[in-house]
């Protein structure tokens, strides 16, 4: 009995760690190959150690331009989607109104639709309207597909919040605006932050929808896609590694801050 149980426990741990290795392995490869000095145009085979790419991360034409474009789009898309999505989430969580289920369906559908379908149909609309592709079409598309994720994240948080807190604030003669700013918003903040973070990640990394709606504008994922055909500079790996490091660092700092707050 106990031998069987131990075996099973080890099986779950081993299988889980195996999956984790499968998930993390590509990141390890990306990091290791950021120190490679490839012979040809493609950075797929290990040749020899070099820090050339790290000392000159923008040494490839258009790479850093595409990166800064992606960052700008991600920031604006995050702001847009977070504001619009939070408003919808509050309406859904706090009010009764007609067409409620239609609204819920409209929020759910973009998440249940393959990206390529949304991408092709939105591009069809832009083509028909004679709108030229570029920064604005990308931004419009990104706000569109990030919106539903923000609504989901914020709604979950607002619904789990005790409505009596707001009533208490009003009993204490807080105006509706004060109640919202001092009580509601702080409690909803983690949900809003989660939605914003998710929007940023989704927008920054989006390829399929951008591919259809960018025209000749090149975001960072589009640059990588093109590089996969023309030749992959080592600098791509440098940026990939740096992004990974920054993300892990942010999460760790956030955790530490959170732990200290809880302790005090």
């Amino acid at each position: 009995m106990s031998a069987l149980r131990r075996l099973r426990r080890n099986f779950v741990v081993l299988a889980g760690l195996g999956t984790l290795a499968y998930l993390v392995l590509p990141n390890v490869i990306v990091t290791v190959f950021s120190f490679n000095k490839p012979n040809g145009r493609f950075n797929y085979e290990w040749q020899r150690f070099s820090t050339d790419a790290w000392t000159d991360p923008c040494g490839v034409a258009d790479l850093c331009g595409s990166l800064s474009l992606s960052l700008r789009i991600a920031v604006w898309a995050t702001i847009g989607a977070t504001v619009l999505g939070t408003m919808i989430a509050f309406a859904l969580a706090r009010y009764r109104f007609r067409a409620r289920s239609a609204v819920s369906t409209l929020i759910f559908l973009p998440m249940a639709m393959p990206e390529v379908v949304m991408a092709a149909s939105l591009a069809t609309l832009f083509l028909n309207m004679g709108i030229s592709f570029g920064f604005w079409t990308i931004l419009i598309a990104h706000v569109m597909f990030c919106l539903s994720f923000v609504v989901t994240a914020v709604k979950a948080r607002v619904m789990s919040m005790d409505p009596r807190l707001e009533q208490a604030a009003q009993d204490l003669y807080a105006t509706p605006l004060q109640t919202f700013l001092r009580v509601t918003l702080p409690i909803a903040a983690p949900g809003i932050a989660a939605g914003a973070l998710l929007s940023f990640a989704l927008s920054f990394d989006d390829f399929i929808i951008t591919n259809f709606n960018a025209g000749s504008t090149v975001t960072f994922p589009m640059f990588v896609w093109g590089a996969a055909q023309r030749g992959t500079p080592v600098q791509i790996n440098v940026i990939g590694t740096a992004m990974f490091a920054i993300a892990v660092l942010c999460v760790l700092v956030g955790q530490l801050v959170g732990r200290r707050k809880r302790r005090s």
Binding site: L4, F11, V12, V13, G16, L20, Y22, L23, V24, L25, P26, N27, I29, V30, F33, Y44, E45, L84, G85, M87, A91, L92, R94, Y95, R96, F97, V103, S104, T105, L106, I107, A112, M113, P114, E115, V116, A120, S121, A123, T124, L125, N128, I140, A141, V143, K155, M159, F207, N211, F212, F220, P221, A228, I239, G240, T241, M243, F244, A247, Q255
Partner: protein
């Protein structure tokens, strides 16, 4: 997502000022909804209608396209590209099953066994999200390269002979075979499986495990009768979040496969962006959308978790 509404504000029939305030309050949700819903209607719903109309148009780039109710586009598209449709469904389904098989132990590990390592493991699951997934997919080209460690190990163990006989690999290599594409799809959508699984596993009261053990259930029985059924919402959400994007994906097939592994996403992309045959691209994506919505609806009904939506 369940929808339970907070009680509507009570509106006592008293002074006109109060009544006016109540009326204003009743209008609040519509103002809150207006900009976001308008955005979705114009840039999500309207394009789908446009798409439907484009799919029955004929014409050329030079002369423009006109609605001629040319439904033959659908028949032509299906008869020409049904292999890619079937392949997409097969690859996506295989990747989904693999994600479930690989993801479940990890989600279980994080939910029940990780202890103080829980947060670190969660970070490791989520962090890859923040490296562009195109770069990570390209890394698989290195991992699976013909003279790489993985392929030579698989060759010396004669695994590739077996998979070659089964038709999922070809010529003692992995890249440019169905195996590579499915491997890439599985990798890319694994976190989408793990997160909902973890969420539903974490909600399970560990005392239920103890109770099952006290009632002489063997661990396997406990898992089969208690843990797995309780994690069903996560399983359903995870399989949907994996299958839907995987079925429409064209990145893995493009980067890791050859022309023999093209999926329906590749066809739509090249019809739209290279061939510029908009009606065919529209018809194909309409079929894909309808097929997926139908499958999802049936699946949600069957699995009895309608409160998911």
């Amino acid at each position: 997502m369940t929808t339970s509404t907070a009680p509507a504000p009570e509106t006592p029939a008293t002074p006109p000022a109060v009544a006016r305030a109540a009326r204003r309050r009743r209008r609040v949700p519509y103002w809150l909804l207006l900009p976001g819903i308008l955005w979705l209607l114009v840039f999500f719903a309207a394009p789908l209608v446009y798409q439907a109309s484009t799919s029955v148009q004929t014409g050329s780039l030079e002369e423009g396209f006109k609605v001629t109710w040319h439904f033959a586009t659908y028949a032509d598209a299906l008869s020409e590209y049904y292999p890619q449709f079937l392949r997409s469904v097969a690859y996506a389904a295989t990747a989904t099953v693999l994600c479930l098989v690989l993801g479940y132990p990890l989600a279980y590990l994080i939910a029940f066994k990780a202890g103080r390592w829980r947060n670190l493991l969660m970070i490791l699951v989520i962090a890859p999200f923040f490296t562009s997934f195109l770069i990570r997919t390209l890394a698989w080209k290195t991992i699976l390269s013909d003279n790489g460690l993985v392929v030579s190990t698989l060759n010396s163990l004669h695994v590739l002979d077996v998979t070659g006989a089964l038709g999922v690999t070809e010529g003692h290599r992995v890249l440019a075979t169905p195996l590579a594409v499915v491997c890439g799809l599985t990798y890319n959508f694994l976190p989408f499986m793990i997160l909902p699984l973890y969420t539903s596993l974490e909600r399970i009261d560990p005392r239920l495990h103890e109770a099952a053990g006290d009632l002489y259930a063997r661990p396997v029985t406990t898992f089969r009768k208690v843990t797995f059924p309780l994690s069903m919402p996560g399983v359903v959400a995870g399989t949907l979040l994996t299958f839907i994007p995987a079925a429409g994906d064209y990145i893995n097939a493009e980067l890791l496969g050859s022309t023999d592994q093209k999926m329906i996403g590749n066809v739509i992309q090249s019809q739209f962006l290279r061939v510029l045959d908009y009606p065919t691209a529209a018809a194909l994506s309409f079929i894909l959308m309808a097929a997926i919505l139908a499958m999802v609806t049936v699946y949600i009904r069957k699995s009895g978790t309608e409160d998911l939506v």
